[in-house]
């Protein structure tokens, strides 16, 4: 069965690709610039004339270009943060699960300790203490998310290690590295892929939340969260400035969640058949 036979995956994946393509190509096609303020056209409602299909903000900047730029930043933050959590989490979890015993106990108690820290508070402190830095957001979000990933991978590895095909490989003389790479890792792919697609929306939410509080991406750069924040201030006069980025944010989150669900079904089917 191909990945694309699953309708959930096809539809949500299709929407996400379209959104991403628009975000990449939009600012390039549009005649407007995300920085250019125009005090003659403040808070214009969406119109086809002049290509300002999302209207303008209170500084007269074109909202279409800014929204597309916001999507780029949001997706970039989410994907990079998920990759960070993927790499740390899988390596950490697989080692803890495979080695087992005391090493496992020590490694997982460390994870438990980190879990106990109030992370949003911790991130806010980081943002306040250091310069508000784009890189810091990736690190902060990745640092929150790898814990879950490590736990899931560790549990899975632990049960895989007990499976008889691993014993069979050990008996034959297959090296530990090869067992990890050829016997454990391929059996982890399903659950890891599913979990990553579910981590991305979490990262998006955290980033939006930080930006909404003014702790995330800084002007003149923007993200969906920052745009929602700006939109809230104009809510009464220019509802589009809130509704458009908020709607897109919801759409992206929904699509990632559906994609995760679809992938989970997909990998389930292959395992049960």
């Amino acid at each position: 069965m191909s990945l694309f036979d699953n309708r959930t995956i096809r539809v949500s994946g299709g929407i996400l690709l379209t959104v991403a393509a628009c975000a990449l190509a939009g600012p390039w096609i549009s005649p407007h610039d995300y920085l250019a303020t125009d005090f003659d056209s403040q808070l214009l409602s969406p119109t086809m004339t002049g290509g300002q299909i999302f209207g303008t903000d209170d500084l007269g900047r074109d909202l279409f270009v800014r929204t597309m730029l916001g999507i780029r930043v949001t997706l970039l933050v989410a994907i990079v943060a998920s990759l960070v959590s993927l790499i740390i989490g899988v390596a950490y979890g697989a080692i803890a699960g495979f080695v087992g015993g005391r090493v496992d106990a020590a490694m997982m108690r460390f994870v438990d300790t980190l879990y106990a820290l109030p992370f949003i508070f911790f991130v806010i402190l980081l943002m306040v203490a250091f310069e508000r830095n784009f890189l810091l957001i990736f690190v902060a979000i990745g640092a929150v998310n790898w814990l879950d990933m490590a736990r899931i991978v560790r549990g899975q590895t632990l049960s895989l290690r007990e499976r008889e095909f691993v014993d069979a490989a050990r008996l034959t003389g297959v090296s530990t590295t090869r067992i990890l790479l050829h016997h454990i890792a391929p059996n982890l792919i399903g659950i890891v892929v599913v979990y990553v697609t579910l981590t991305i929306p979490q990262a998006i939410l955290v980033e939006s939340f930080l930006s909404f509080l003014g702790l995330g991406v800084q002007e003149p750069q923007t993200s969906l969260g920052a745009l929602v924040d700006a939109g809230v201030n104009q809510m009464e006069g220019a509802s589009w400035a809130l509704l458009i980025p908020a709607g897109l944010l919801a759409l992206i989150l929904l699509c990632f969640n559906f994609l995760g669900d679809g992938l989970r079904d997909f990998f389930d089917v292959r395992h049960t058949n």
Binding site: R163, L171, T172, H182, I189
Partner: protein
Amino acid sequence: MSLLTVKDLSIRYNETAVVDELSFSIDQAESVGLVGESGSGKSQTALALLGLLPRQASVTGSIRFDGTELVGASEKTLDRLRARRIGIVFQDPMQALNPYLRIGRQLRQILVRHKLARGTEIDERVIEMLARVGLSDARQQFHAYPHQLSGGMRQRVMLASALIAEPDLLIGDEPTTALDVTVQAQILELLEEIRDNTALLLITHDLGVVAGHCERMLVLEKGRLVDAGATTSLFASPGHAHTRLLLDAAPRIDRSGDLPPATGASILGIDAVSVSYTAFGNKQLQAVHDVSLSLRSGETVAVVGESGSGKSSFVRAVLGLVPMRAGRAVYAGAPLEGPVERRAKAQRRDLQLIFQDPVSALNPHMRVQSIIGESLLVHEPGLSSRARRERVVEALGQVGLGDQYLVRYPHELSGGQAQRVAIARALVLGPKVLICDEAVAALDGSVREQVLALLRKAQEDTGLAIIFISHDLAVVRAISHRVVVLYMGRLVERSDNASLFSRPRHPYTRALIDAVPVPNPVIAPKKAPLRGEVPSLLYPPSGCVFHPRCKYVKEICRSKLPPARDVQGAHVACHYADEIDLSL
């Protein structure tokens, strides 16, 4: 009029028929066996009788139970019949009992639901039923949760719940397949005892069970009824080739297998091996006590015992998969020491293991080609990929599989094919010792015969030595030269095949032999030879560990552990080995 009449019953999933035009009937109080290999539609038929098939199944034909049509009947009609007039016992009681409800409450529900008793009478009837199925101290067990009972006890509870409403028909879907033979014998005996006037439809793959407990039998092949008739006449003269095939494939404990004697040099010596695990609360659980064994090239030694006897732990310790607490093993003059990772490459090549469940023993993400080829990659790294492929094809040919299987994934193989791939993986390196851990237990009769023939052939061709772990003494009798019997991790008897099966020296050995159902309906089934189940390893009995279940028990057995000693060619751990005559 018949109690149950099934006419032209067909069950289809997406146009594939799993049961095809099946017709049969069951009379009041009659016992009927429904036999066939896996995938023949036995269980689907049982589920159809109860209206429990999944929604995707399309059912046609007619099932009339005491005048009521069940195909297409409303849930309400079915509800009135299920548990009240048709009871069922499934294979796995842990799946069928609700783990969150005390067993007494689960049985109560049936009486309450069908208004069969009221007030305090309800609990009294439940307790009475639990006592009838042999739960000691039924009043206390009433409050037990399923996980607090052993497998055999859980199956007794299932039987109680199936029979508490005094149904007219009892369906047993492989009710004893998951149990040890000794427990199976007890459950089957109990079934006969308490069934009264209830008709029985017994679904099983074990012709021994049918021979002993069913008046008539029905034979299914791929969803079609191919043979039906009185059990005695079908066993004497099968009406269909498939029935003959099933009968021929049934292992016979009452017949000796004639193996050429093994004359090879001694290759593996295992001396006083012990294995222990740390159980909950740091308590030491000793799974294997001082078990010794020697093996020659070309010889098959069987290790038998009920579950929990330490069979698997013993061989796993020899292989280095679990630590050996005491004792030593010597292979070809060199000691086998430490975990398998630290052992010499040659040792790892020469000792191979085959597991019970081939599906979990094969990596689901690897193709057959890489599964078999991986061993070569490790042990003969110089091999070109073409030469490696040739060796893999050769190994597949050895187990009777063509090269179209090279690119298959494990889930694309049947159970028998998967087990053959696992054997090919073990044989491709040309091992000297092959350890089979219940390697044929999960296979259908005819496939089991093929796999056993394959092992025998490998032995003839290459002088392979085999340690064959099994709970099935009928299979053991057919393929082994010598037999080691374990009970609670201790050796109780070690003897050659012929004398073990003609004159066992230990009461436990004799009980194990008696518990195996004989596929011959003329012989009345023996009374269950053993009562109760294996005690917990955490609290072993004093003296001889077998004494609580032994019918020859005397005072000394309770206090003194019998040492294993030689008694006329056999090595036996029983105080009275040379006094009691256990000849068959």
